[in-house]
Protein backbone atom coordinates (compact mmCIF):
# COMPACT_ATOMS: atom_id res chain seq x y z
CA UNK A 1 0.00 0.00 0.00
CA UNK A 2 1.39 3.34 -1.02
CA UNK A 3 1.35 6.28 1.31
CA UNK A 4 2.68 8.60 -1.38
CA UNK A 5 1.45 12.16 -1.49
CA UNK A 6 -1.31 13.06 -3.98
CA UNK A 7 1.16 15.02 -6.14
CA UNK A 8 2.68 11.72 -7.18
CA UNK A 9 1.06 10.90 -10.57
CA UNK A 10 0.95 7.17 -9.91
CA UNK A 11 -0.80 7.78 -6.59
CA UNK A 12 -3.31 10.11 -8.26
CA UNK A 13 -4.19 7.21 -10.53
CA UNK A 14 -4.51 4.96 -7.51
CA UNK A 15 -6.78 7.42 -5.73
CA UNK A 16 -9.00 7.70 -8.80
CA UNK A 17 -9.21 3.92 -8.94
CA UNK A 18 -10.22 3.77 -5.28
CA UNK A 19 -12.81 6.48 -5.85
CA UNK A 20 -14.23 4.47 -8.74
CA UNK A 21 -14.38 1.40 -6.54
CA UNK A 22 -16.28 3.35 -3.90
CA UNK A 23 -19.02 4.04 -6.41
CA UNK A 24 -18.98 0.66 -8.10
CA UNK A 25 -18.86 -1.81 -5.23
CA UNK A 26 -22.46 -2.55 -4.32
CA UNK A 27 -23.99 -3.07 -0.93
CA UNK A 28 -24.58 -6.80 -0.59
CA UNK A 29 -21.25 -7.74 -2.16
CA UNK A 30 -19.63 -10.87 -0.69
CA UNK A 31 -16.45 -9.60 0.95
CA UNK A 32 -15.01 -13.00 1.80
CA UNK A 33 -15.47 -16.43 3.32
CA UNK A 34 -13.78 -18.35 6.09
CA UNK A 35 -13.69 -22.06 6.84
CA UNK A 36 -11.25 -23.41 9.41
CA UNK A 37 -10.74 -25.49 12.54
CA UNK A 38 -9.83 -23.95 15.90
CA UNK A 39 -6.68 -25.46 17.40
CA UNK A 40 -5.05 -25.42 20.84
CA UNK A 41 -2.17 -23.44 19.35
CA UNK A 42 -4.51 -20.65 18.22
CA UNK A 43 -5.98 -20.39 21.71
CA UNK A 44 -2.54 -20.53 23.38
CA UNK A 45 -1.17 -17.78 21.11
CA UNK A 46 -4.18 -15.59 21.77
CA UNK A 47 -3.99 -16.01 25.55
CA UNK A 48 -0.25 -15.30 25.52
CA UNK A 49 -0.65 -12.16 23.40
CA UNK A 50 -3.44 -10.88 25.61
CA UNK A 51 -1.83 -11.85 28.91
CA UNK A 52 -5.13 -13.59 29.65
CA UNK A 53 -4.83 -16.24 32.36
CA UNK A 54 -8.50 -16.91 33.05
CA UNK A 55 -8.86 -20.53 34.25
CA UNK A 56 -12.04 -20.93 32.19
CA UNK A 57 -9.79 -21.50 29.13
CA UNK A 58 -7.95 -24.50 30.60
CA UNK A 59 -8.78 -27.95 29.26
CA UNK A 60 -11.63 -29.47 31.23
CA UNK A 61 -11.74 -32.98 32.73
CA UNK A 62 -14.08 -34.10 29.94
CA UNK A 63 -11.40 -33.15 27.39
CA UNK A 64 -13.10 -30.02 26.07
CA UNK A 65 -11.50 -26.56 25.99
CA UNK A 66 -13.37 -23.29 25.60
CA UNK A 67 -12.26 -20.78 22.99
CA UNK A 68 -12.16 -17.08 23.95
CA UNK A 69 -15.28 -15.67 22.28
CA UNK A 70 -13.56 -12.77 20.54
CA UNK A 71 -10.82 -15.02 19.14
CA UNK A 72 -13.19 -16.42 16.52
CA UNK A 73 -13.93 -13.13 14.74
CA UNK A 74 -10.24 -12.24 15.08
CA UNK A 75 -9.21 -15.46 13.25
CA UNK A 76 -11.71 -14.86 10.47
CA UNK A 77 -11.26 -11.11 10.10
CA UNK A 78 -8.71 -11.01 7.31
CA UNK A 79 -10.38 -13.43 4.87
CA UNK A 80 -13.86 -12.15 5.70
CA UNK A 81 -13.27 -8.40 5.53
CA UNK A 82 -9.73 -7.02 5.67
CA UNK A 83 -8.35 -8.45 2.45
CA UNK A 84 -11.37 -7.19 0.55
CA UNK A 85 -11.09 -3.68 2.02
CA UNK A 86 -7.37 -3.44 1.43
CA UNK A 87 -7.61 -4.71 -2.15
CA UNK A 88 -10.64 -2.61 -3.06
CA UNK A 89 -10.40 0.60 -1.04
CA UNK A 90 -7.00 0.77 0.67
CA UNK A 91 -6.06 0.91 4.32
CA UNK A 92 -8.73 1.03 6.99
CA UNK A 93 -9.14 1.35 10.71
CA UNK A 94 -11.90 -0.14 12.84
CA UNK A 95 -14.40 2.44 14.03
CA UNK A 96 -17.12 0.29 15.59
CA UNK A 97 -17.60 -3.38 16.32
CA UNK A 98 -20.69 -5.23 17.48
CA UNK A 99 -20.70 -8.93 18.30
CA UNK A 100 -23.49 -11.15 19.56
CA UNK A 101 -22.70 -14.62 20.89
CA UNK A 102 -25.17 -17.50 20.66
CA UNK A 103 -23.09 -20.58 21.48
CA UNK A 104 -19.58 -21.24 22.78
CA UNK A 105 -16.83 -22.51 20.50
CA UNK A 106 -14.52 -25.29 21.71
CA UNK A 107 -11.12 -26.31 20.40
CA UNK A 108 -11.54 -28.63 17.41
CA UNK A 109 -14.74 -27.00 16.21
CA UNK A 110 -15.08 -25.71 12.69
CA UNK A 111 -15.59 -22.00 11.99
CA UNK A 112 -17.68 -21.17 8.93
CA UNK A 113 -18.76 -17.70 7.90
CA UNK A 114 -19.40 -15.44 4.93
CA UNK A 115 -18.89 -11.69 5.12
CA UNK A 116 -20.93 -9.09 3.26
CA UNK A 117 -20.76 -5.36 2.74
CA UNK A 118 -24.06 -4.11 4.18
CA UNK A 119 -23.66 -0.32 4.12
CA UNK A 120 -21.33 2.42 2.97
CA UNK A 121 -21.49 6.10 3.83
CA UNK A 122 -19.52 9.31 4.06
CA UNK A 123 -19.40 11.46 7.17
CA UNK A 124 -17.32 14.58 7.84
CA UNK A 125 -15.16 13.87 4.80
CA UNK A 126 -14.42 10.27 5.78
CA UNK A 127 -15.63 7.09 4.12
CA UNK A 128 -17.05 4.25 6.18
CA UNK A 129 -17.96 0.66 5.33
CA UNK A 130 -20.13 -1.67 7.40
CA UNK A 131 -19.70 -5.43 7.12
CA UNK A 132 -21.62 -8.29 8.67
CA UNK A 133 -20.88 -11.98 9.04
CA UNK A 134 -23.01 -14.76 10.45
CA UNK A 135 -20.94 -17.59 11.92
CA UNK A 136 -22.63 -21.01 11.87
CA UNK A 137 -21.75 -24.43 13.21
CA UNK A 138 -21.37 -27.60 11.16
CA UNK A 139 -24.96 -28.32 12.13
CA UNK A 140 -25.93 -24.90 10.74
CA UNK A 141 -26.72 -23.45 14.15
CA UNK A 142 -25.97 -19.74 14.66
CA UNK A 143 -22.76 -19.30 16.70
CA UNK A 144 -22.10 -15.57 16.59
CA UNK A 145 -22.95 -12.47 14.60
CA UNK A 146 -20.31 -9.90 13.74
CA UNK A 147 -21.00 -6.36 12.52
CA UNK A 148 -18.14 -3.93 12.10
CA UNK A 149 -17.62 -0.45 10.74
CA UNK A 150 -14.28 0.48 9.22
CA UNK A 151 -13.04 3.90 8.13
CA UNK A 152 -10.87 4.19 5.05
CA UNK A 153 -7.72 6.16 5.83
CA UNK A 154 -5.92 6.09 2.51
CA UNK A 155 -4.43 9.55 2.81
CA UNK A 156 -5.01 10.42 6.46
CA UNK A 157 -2.70 10.60 9.41
CA UNK A 158 -3.61 8.88 12.65
CA UNK A 159 -2.69 10.57 15.89
Amino acid sequence: MSTDRPDNPSTMTGLRMLADNWNEVAVGTLSGSFDGIITDEMVDNYLLAMGNGLPIYRRQPDGTRLVPPDLVPRLAMRPLFSHFVRRTFGRSIRAKHEIRYFRPYHVGMRIRADGHLVEKYEKRGNRFLIFEAAFRSDGDEPMLHDRRTVMIFEDQKLK
Binding site: A49, M50, R94
Partner: protein
Protein backbone atom coordinates in the same frame (compact mmCIF):
# COMPACT_ATOMS: atom_id res chain seq x y z
CA UNK B 1 -22.40 -5.83 40.58
CA UNK B 2 -18.62 -5.70 40.65
CA UNK B 3 -16.73 -5.96 37.37
CA UNK B 4 -13.41 -7.79 37.13
CA UNK B 5 -11.29 -4.91 35.81
CA UNK B 6 -8.31 -5.67 33.57
CA UNK B 7 -5.09 -3.60 33.66
CA UNK B 8 -2.42 -4.18 30.98
CA UNK B 9 0.71 -2.41 29.79
CA UNK B 10 0.90 -2.78 26.01
CA UNK B 11 4.11 -4.22 24.57
CA UNK B 12 5.02 -4.38 20.87
CA UNK B 13 5.82 -8.09 21.24
CA UNK B 14 2.26 -8.78 22.35
CA UNK B 15 0.87 -6.66 19.51
CA UNK B 16 2.91 -8.66 16.98
CA UNK B 17 1.80 -11.93 18.51
CA UNK B 18 -1.82 -10.84 18.33
CA UNK B 19 -1.93 -9.22 14.89
CA UNK B 20 1.17 -10.59 13.17
CA UNK B 21 4.60 -9.02 12.83
CA UNK B 22 4.28 -7.97 9.20
CA UNK B 23 1.85 -5.07 9.48
CA UNK B 24 1.34 -1.67 11.10
CA UNK B 25 0.00 -3.30 14.27
CA UNK B 26 3.11 -5.31 15.01
CA UNK B 27 5.99 -3.85 13.02
CA UNK B 28 7.57 -0.41 13.47
CA UNK B 29 8.81 -0.24 9.87
CA UNK B 30 5.39 -1.08 8.46
CA UNK B 31 3.84 1.56 10.72
CA UNK B 32 6.28 4.23 9.50
CA UNK B 33 5.55 3.25 5.88
CA UNK B 34 1.88 3.93 6.61
CA UNK B 35 2.66 7.39 7.96
CA UNK B 36 2.35 6.47 11.63
CA UNK B 37 4.80 7.43 14.35
CA UNK B 38 4.55 3.98 15.92
CA UNK B 39 2.56 0.76 15.54
CA UNK B 40 -1.03 0.99 16.75
CA UNK B 41 -2.88 -1.71 18.64
CA UNK B 42 -5.38 -3.59 16.52
CA UNK B 43 -8.98 -2.91 17.49
CA UNK B 44 -9.63 -6.56 18.18
CA UNK B 45 -6.90 -6.62 20.80
CA UNK B 46 -8.47 -3.64 22.57
CA UNK B 47 -11.83 -5.35 22.46
CA UNK B 48 -10.14 -8.45 23.85
CA UNK B 49 -9.34 -6.73 27.14
CA UNK B 50 -12.99 -5.81 27.53
CA UNK B 51 -14.02 -9.36 26.68
CA UNK B 52 -11.66 -10.63 29.38
CA UNK B 53 -13.43 -8.41 31.90
CA UNK B 54 -16.85 -9.59 30.74
CA UNK B 55 -15.96 -13.30 30.75
CA UNK B 56 -14.41 -12.94 34.22
CA UNK B 57 -17.56 -11.18 35.40
CA UNK B 58 -20.31 -13.29 33.82
CA UNK B 59 -18.58 -16.66 33.32
CA UNK B 60 -20.14 -19.27 31.03
CA UNK B 61 -23.42 -17.42 30.35
CA UNK B 62 -21.46 -14.78 28.46
CA UNK B 63 -20.54 -17.34 25.78
CA UNK B 64 -24.18 -17.87 24.79
CA UNK B 65 -25.91 -14.62 25.78
CA UNK B 66 -23.19 -11.97 25.49
CA UNK B 67 -23.57 -8.90 23.30
CA UNK B 68 -20.86 -6.28 22.88
CA UNK B 69 -20.92 -3.00 20.98
CA UNK B 70 -17.70 -0.98 20.85
CA UNK B 71 -16.64 2.37 19.44
CA UNK B 72 -12.93 3.04 18.97
CA UNK B 73 -12.00 6.60 19.90
CA UNK B 74 -8.21 6.83 20.09
CA UNK B 75 -5.25 4.83 18.92
CA UNK B 76 -3.12 2.93 21.44
CA UNK B 77 0.63 2.46 21.10
CA UNK B 78 3.36 0.36 22.73
CA UNK B 79 4.08 1.52 26.28
CA UNK B 80 0.51 2.63 26.96
CA UNK B 81 -1.25 1.14 29.97
CA UNK B 82 -4.92 0.28 29.62
CA UNK B 83 -7.54 -0.20 32.30
CA UNK B 84 -11.01 -1.60 31.67
CA UNK B 85 -14.07 -0.38 33.48
CA UNK B 86 -17.82 -0.41 33.41
CA UNK B 87 -21.00 0.49 35.16
CA UNK B 88 -24.41 -1.13 35.46
CA UNK B 89 -27.11 0.68 33.49
CA UNK B 90 -30.03 -1.76 33.63
CA UNK B 91 -30.94 -5.05 35.22
CA UNK B 92 -34.03 -7.05 34.29
CA UNK B 93 -34.75 -10.02 36.59
CA UNK B 94 -35.26 -13.45 35.01
CA UNK B 95 -36.19 -16.83 36.53
CA UNK B 96 -32.57 -17.70 37.21
CA UNK B 97 -30.85 -14.33 37.58
CA UNK B 98 -31.03 -11.19 35.47
CA UNK B 99 -30.24 -9.74 32.09
CA UNK B 100 -27.67 -7.05 32.75
CA UNK B 101 -26.78 -4.01 30.64
CA UNK B 102 -23.47 -2.25 31.13
CA UNK B 103 -21.64 0.77 29.85
CA UNK B 104 -18.03 -0.32 29.38
CA UNK B 105 -14.79 1.43 28.52
CA UNK B 106 -11.05 1.19 28.23
CA UNK B 107 -8.90 4.10 29.43
CA UNK B 108 -5.23 4.83 28.89
CA UNK B 109 -2.65 5.94 31.46
CA UNK B 110 -3.81 9.56 31.05
CA UNK B 111 -7.38 8.66 31.95
CA UNK B 112 -8.54 9.15 28.36
CA UNK B 113 -11.17 6.78 27.06
CA UNK B 114 -9.80 4.92 24.03
CA UNK B 115 -12.75 2.55 23.60
CA UNK B 116 -16.31 2.96 24.84
CA UNK B 117 -19.29 0.70 24.42
CA UNK B 118 -22.13 -1.31 25.83
CA UNK B 119 -22.47 -4.93 26.84
CA UNK B 120 -25.35 -7.20 27.75
CA UNK B 121 -25.35 -10.69 29.20
CA UNK B 122 -27.32 -13.05 31.37
CA UNK B 123 -26.19 -13.10 34.99
CA UNK B 124 -26.95 -16.35 36.82
CA UNK B 125 -27.94 -16.44 40.45
CA UNK B 126 -29.41 -13.89 42.86
Amino acid sequence: MKLASVVRRIELEDMALYAGGDNLHGNAEAARAAGLSAPIVQGGQLGGYLHEMLVATFGMPFFSTGEVSLTFLKTVKPGDTLTSGGTLTKEVPTDDGAVVDLDIWLTNQNGEKVVVGRARAQRKGP
